[in-house]
Subunit: 201 residues, 2 copies
């Protein structure tokens, strides 16, 4: 069976950088939201999906959890895209060892017993990281924002991640019970964490 490492992460806690370092150290392929979305665009599965959309409104198998009202799981176009991405996650994980960042991969791949990591940090550290990366692709980090405004944006993004995760998994995002390892990146370097994880998996 493939050795699969999943990384959940708070926005601004350096999860992507850590994930890339870890994949590099282990020699594993690396996948995150952008890469998975790109694969979804290019695969034949995706073409089949577009065709499906053209023919009829798709019905998608979602986990329906006790106590969740039905309206919350009525499929729509956005969910269909997610379902497609979930299929891709299952596909890439079945093919080789890998590191997958985000997308609730820990839950999607739960039967394959992935090593589940969650990365978080304090707000000061998140602000610092966002400021450092403002010239990169952090679309929500804007140098014109005050610290208070940026902190609010970070919180909003993380609320979105929590909602996404909880909707698709029925589990609480960032609850340590759902992970093998939770790492506070406020004062530990990504490279060191990658070395430590190499020992643990």
């Amino acid at each position: 069976m493939s050795k699969i490492i999943t990384i959940g992460r708070e926005f601004g806690s350096g999860g992507r950088e850590f994930g890339k370092r870890l994949a590099e150290l282990l020699g594993f392929p690396y996948y995150d939201r952008e890469i998975i979305a790109e694969i979804a665009k290019r695969t034949s599965l995706s073409e089949k999906y577009i065709q499906n959309i053209a023919e009829h409104k798709p019905v998608i198998p979602f986990p329906i959890h006790t106590g969740r009202t039905f309206w919350a799981v009525v499929p729509d176009f956005g969910q269909s895209v997610q379902s497609e991405q979930h299929s891709i996650i299952r596909e890439v994980a079945s093919k080789s060892d890998c590191v997958i960042v985000g997308r609730g991969a820990d839950y999607i791949l739960r039967e394959s017993k992935p090593f589940r990591i969650f990365v978080y940090s304090d707000i000061e550290s998140k602000l610092r990281r966002c400021r450092e990366n403002q010239s990169n692709d952090y679309e929500h980090a804007d140098e014109a924002l005050t610290d208070k405004e940026l902190a609010k944006r970070i919180e909003q993004i993380n609320k979105g991640r929590a909602d996404y995760y909880e909707f698709y998994t029925g589990q609480k995002w960032g609850d340590k019970a759902n992970y093998d390892l939770c790492i506070n990146t406020s004062s530990i370097e990504p490279g060191k964490i990658a070395e430590a994880v190499k020992i643990l998996i």
Copy 2:
């Protein structure tokens, strides 16, 4: 400054075993509740304390958190013992590098910036560990108990730890935000965790 490692742990998650392994690997002195209580009994500080008790009801400086009603912090004999233990924790941590398990040491020593670990595990793993250790000193693990009864006891003990921690620190016990590293010991060996932590500190 001393390198201090604190370990909070759910009962049954192997925190003590891991702490001992880590201390051994690092060549650091190891302290846990029993050892700290033993030091408290033997030190001159303790004698001074007994004398103090004999003379007048002690007044102990406790952190009083906003919103906490006053009756909750009225000092009594039990709190005085804890205060004594907290002094010992501060004393041993000031003398050398060390590993300290339990007693809210992460909070007591917060100004020294300890490396704060929390160890937890799922209930099946806790039950297994308690059964394996029933011939040792786990006073609450009784082989005559059913799994359900033992699980209830484990939960009670952990409730006690949470109450103790929250009373003295005003923080939520086991909340990952208060730790640098949270490790699920359900499927990772203590020796491996110790090796990984050695890299991180």
